[in-house]
Amino acid sequence: MNCKKIRDLITTDYIDLQLSVALQRQIREHLKGCGQCRKFEQALRQAAVEPFKMAQEIKPPDFVWERIREGIEAEEAETEGLFLGLWDYLRGFLNRRRPVFALSTALAAFITVAVVINISLGSRKAVNSYFQEQGEFLSGLAVDTGSNPATNQADLGTSIEEYFL
C-alpha cells in the first residue's frame, strides 16, 4: 500500500477505528517506518480531531421549554377551537335552514302524494277502458250470432271453414 492510500485511510477509517484489526495493524506498521505519514497523522489529529474532544453539551435556556409548552397548548387549543367552531357552524347552519328543510319536506310529501294519486287514477282509467272494450266486443258477438245466421255464415270467410261447418 502506498502513502497516498495510507493517508486516505488515516483520514477516515483509521482515525475512527473502522478498519479490520489486520488493516489497522498494517497502517500502524507503515507509520513506524514513514515519517511523512506519521507527521500527517499527527497534524490531522491535532487540527481536525482533538479540538472537538473539548466540546461540551450546551443546555438550552429555560424559556425554550416554556415556549415549547405554550406552543403545544396553543396548537391543542387551536385544534379544539377548530372542532368547536365547526360544530357551531353546523348547528347554526341547521338552525338557520330549518324552515327551508320543513318547506322542502312538505313539498316532497306533496309531490309524492300527487304522483301516487296520478298513478292510481291512471291505472283505474286503463282498467275501465279495458273492461269497456271487452264488454263492447262481447255484446257485439251476441248481437251478430242471434240476428242473422246467413250474414254470419258469409262472414266465416274461407272455404275450409265452410267445409267444416
Binding site: Q36, M54, E76
Partner: protein, 191 residues
Amino acid sequence: MTDIPRDILIRAANADMQAFEQVYKAVSGFVYSVALRITNNTADAEEVTQDVFLKIYRNLKNFQFKSSFKTWAYRITVNTAINKYRTVSKEKKRMVNYDDTIEAGNTIADTGASFIEREDAEKAVASLLNALNSDQRACIILKEIEGLSYKEISETLKININTVRSRLKRARLALLGRAESAGVPYELQKN
C-alpha cells in the same frame, strides 16, 4: 444522549405532558447543542430546538419504533437546523457567533474544566465548524461531538456510508489545510 424508556415515549405520544417533559429533559441538550453548532446563532438554535420538539410532539404518535428514537431525533434536529441555516444564509441575515452563548446565560455541562478553558474550547470548536459547509459540519458534529458511528450517521442523514466517509474526509482535510495556512507546519499533499 441517554436512552428514553419506551413507556415514557408511549405516554408522551398520548399527549402526557409530564412524560413529554421527561423526553425534553433527556434530549434537549443534544438538540440545542447540535442546532447551535450548525446554525452558529443562539436565536436560531432556540428556534430550531422549539421546532424540533413541536415536530417530535406532533409525530411521536406515528413513531413505529422501527428505528431508534435517538436516530429519529438526530435526523429531525439535523434536518431542521440545516434548513434553518440555509434559509438564514440565503436571506443574508447577520450572523452572530455563538461566542455569546455563555454570556446569554446558557449552561455548559460541568466536566471539571475551568470556565475559561471551556469557553476557549467552545470558541475553538465554533471557529473550526465555521470553516465547513453545512453537510460536512453535520457529519463532523455527529461523529466527533455526538460520537455516532458511520452507520448511525448514514441512517440519521439518510446518505450512503461512503458519502459519510467522503464528507468526513473533505471536512478533515479542510480543517488540516486551515491549520496549515494558520501556521501549523505540515506539507499536506506531498508524496
